[in-house]
């Protein structure tokens, strides 16, 4: 019997997601070089801005708060061999970054060149895509000078 044939199935679709006011404000903000969070009822500022309190489900309204442009690395890992699905084509860090002014951290890529440049507590700065695509990938972090 011959070696079994390899079959390839591709599931591909260009999804079109409606964002609503809160997510829309964040993604729209990136287009304008702004980083936004949202204020919860208890005063905490959540980044990325979510529509409902993660603990209680309470609706948070839409009081957006300007954050950054710098932030602090809370935790990180190093991606030595990025794949085509990753936001950067060269080695980078996926990190939890707490933007200045926020009480929570968000996951994003840090374009740091080498894992030796990375450390918990390091300061990073937001870099915005000059040709925004309207995706969260319009935001990249880089080590602050």
């Amino acid at each position: 019997m011959s070696e079994p044939r390899v079959t390839v199935t591709k599931l591909e679709f260009p999804y079109s997601r409606t964002l609503g006011p809160v997510l829309g404000a964040f993604i729209g903000g990136l287009r304008e070089g702004k980083l936004l969070g949202i204020r919860a009822r208890d005063g905490r500022v959540l980044a990325p801005p979510v529509e409902y309190d993660p603990e209680t489900g309470e609706s948070l309204g839409s009081e957006m708060v300007a954050l950054g442009p710098e932030g602090t690395v809370v935790a990180w890992t190093w991606v030595g061999q990025p794949t085509a699905k990753h936001p950067l084509g060269r080695p980078f860090s996926f990190a939890l970054v707490k933007p200045d002014g926020a009480d929570t951290a968000m996951v994003g890529p840090v374009d740091a060149g080498s894992p030796d440049s990375m450390s918990t507590g390091m300061r990073v700065r937001a870099r915005f895509n000059p040709e925004p695509k309207g995706l969260v990938t319009d935001l990249t972090w880089e080590p602050a000078r």
Partner: protein, 356 residues
């Protein structure tokens, strides 16, 4: 919610392998048949069947429909499906057995990870606005968690390696394991990073597999077990809890939902012989041990756990099956099984079982 008269009475699973040539249904056909045969029951005695699988892992919308062909669905059966690990299918079947009108239920879980790139599939499980477009793969997420654990001072990289060495050592006696053997911790630590601070061996293998579990109630559970010369693994309690999704909005170095589920399942921290934990990455075993308050005397993952074989969508139910087998064969008096779902232990299920 503790109920003392529902038990696991039979289990069957495929070996965990890197690539199985049979289709997912073909893996399920003999597995379900074996569980039913071990229970010594007629197929028609099953009053409720519940399946767990993932369309996107199999690679097509409605993929779960094919799995019905392994469940003996003619004449029609009372059946449901969860888009989740088979452990949640077992939860639904266990719940259904509380209603007194049926005595036997079947739960199964199945998944073939080999056709896909799991890193790409599971990135699509994340928040579609803030996380999925980053191509944020589960290994990178686990790397972030591992680093947070190191920074918290709760663990060291050597601890991670020791988990791996123990897993593969335990797996030597598990015929269904995919990875097993004797490994030196220092040698493991000399391996290069894959996602710093994780090395490849800190991550689970890519696996195909299936598992089926028969539950029975009261006298029927006793008679089934007696006929097989074993004892039922009585489910003393079962519960599952979820946490907020965003990794930055919860403490990654602990697992609050595991602790809560264990408490709700009636686990009081008392003596335990075996714990089968769905610790997909080595640091997660440390997080789960701590969340459950397991002492050194507890045998954790005697099967080797997910690091020795990770058939996603079955792997959680495999934990329950492995723990139940220890109770049924009398080698454990009290056993705890854990299953998880979502990124970085977002959702956790705990099942507490005892012998007579």
């Amino acid at each position: 919610m503790a109920s003392s008269d529902i038990a696991v009475v039979a289990t069957a699973q495929t070996p965990s392998v890197r690539e199985a040539n049979p289709s997912e249904v073909q893996l399920l056909v003999p597995t379900i048949a074996a569980a039913i045969e071990k229970a010594g029951i007629e197929r028609r005695e099953i009053g409720f069947t519940c399946a767990g699988s993932c369309d996107y892992l199999t690679g097509g919308p409605f993929a779960f429909v094919s799995n019905l062909e392994a469940a003996g669905a003619w004449p029609p059966i009372s059946e449901s499906h969860v888009e989740a690990d088979g452990a949640w299918a077992l939860y639904e079947a266990w719940m259904r057995l509380h209603e007194d009108d049926i005595d036997v239920a079947l739960a199964f879980g199945s998944g073939k990870s080999s056709p896909s790139n799991p890193a790409e599939v599971w990135a699509q499980q994340l928040d579609p606005y803030y996380l999925a477009p980053l191509g944020l793969d589960p290994v990178s997420l686990a790397g972030i968690q591992a680093q947070a654990l190191l920074a918290s001072g709760k663990a060291t990289e050597r601890d991670f390696a020791e988990v791996v060495a123990a897993s593969r050592r335990n797996a030597k006696s598990n015929p269904n394991a995919q990875l097993s053997g004797d490994f030196d911790v220092d040698a493991l630590l000399a391996e290069p990073y894959f996602r710093q601070p994780l090395r490849k061996h800190d991550c689970p293998p890519i696996s195909d597999g299936a598992v089926a579990v028969v539950l029975a109630r009261g006298e029927r559970a006793r008679s089934i077990a007696a006929a097989a010369g074993r004892r039922p693994a009585w489910i003393r309690g079962m519960d599952h809890r979820v946490e907020p999704h965003q990794p930055g909005m919860r403490d990654l170095t602990s697992s609050a939902s595991t602790s809560l589920a264990a408490r709700k399942a009636g686990y009081d921290g008392g003596p335990l012989d075996v714990a089968e934990l769905c610790s997909t990455f080595s640091p997660q075993e440390l997080v789960l041990r701590s969340a459950l308050g397991l002492g050194e005397e507890v045998s954790v993952n005697p099967s080797g756990g997910p690091l020795a074989g990770n058939p996603i969508m079955a792997v959680g139910l495999v934990r329950i099956a492995e723990a139940a087998e220890r109770v049924m064969d009398g080698s454990a008096g009290r056993a705890l099984a854990h299953a998880t779902a979502g990124p970085l232990l977002q959702q956790n299920l705990v099942c507490l079982m005892e012998g007579e």
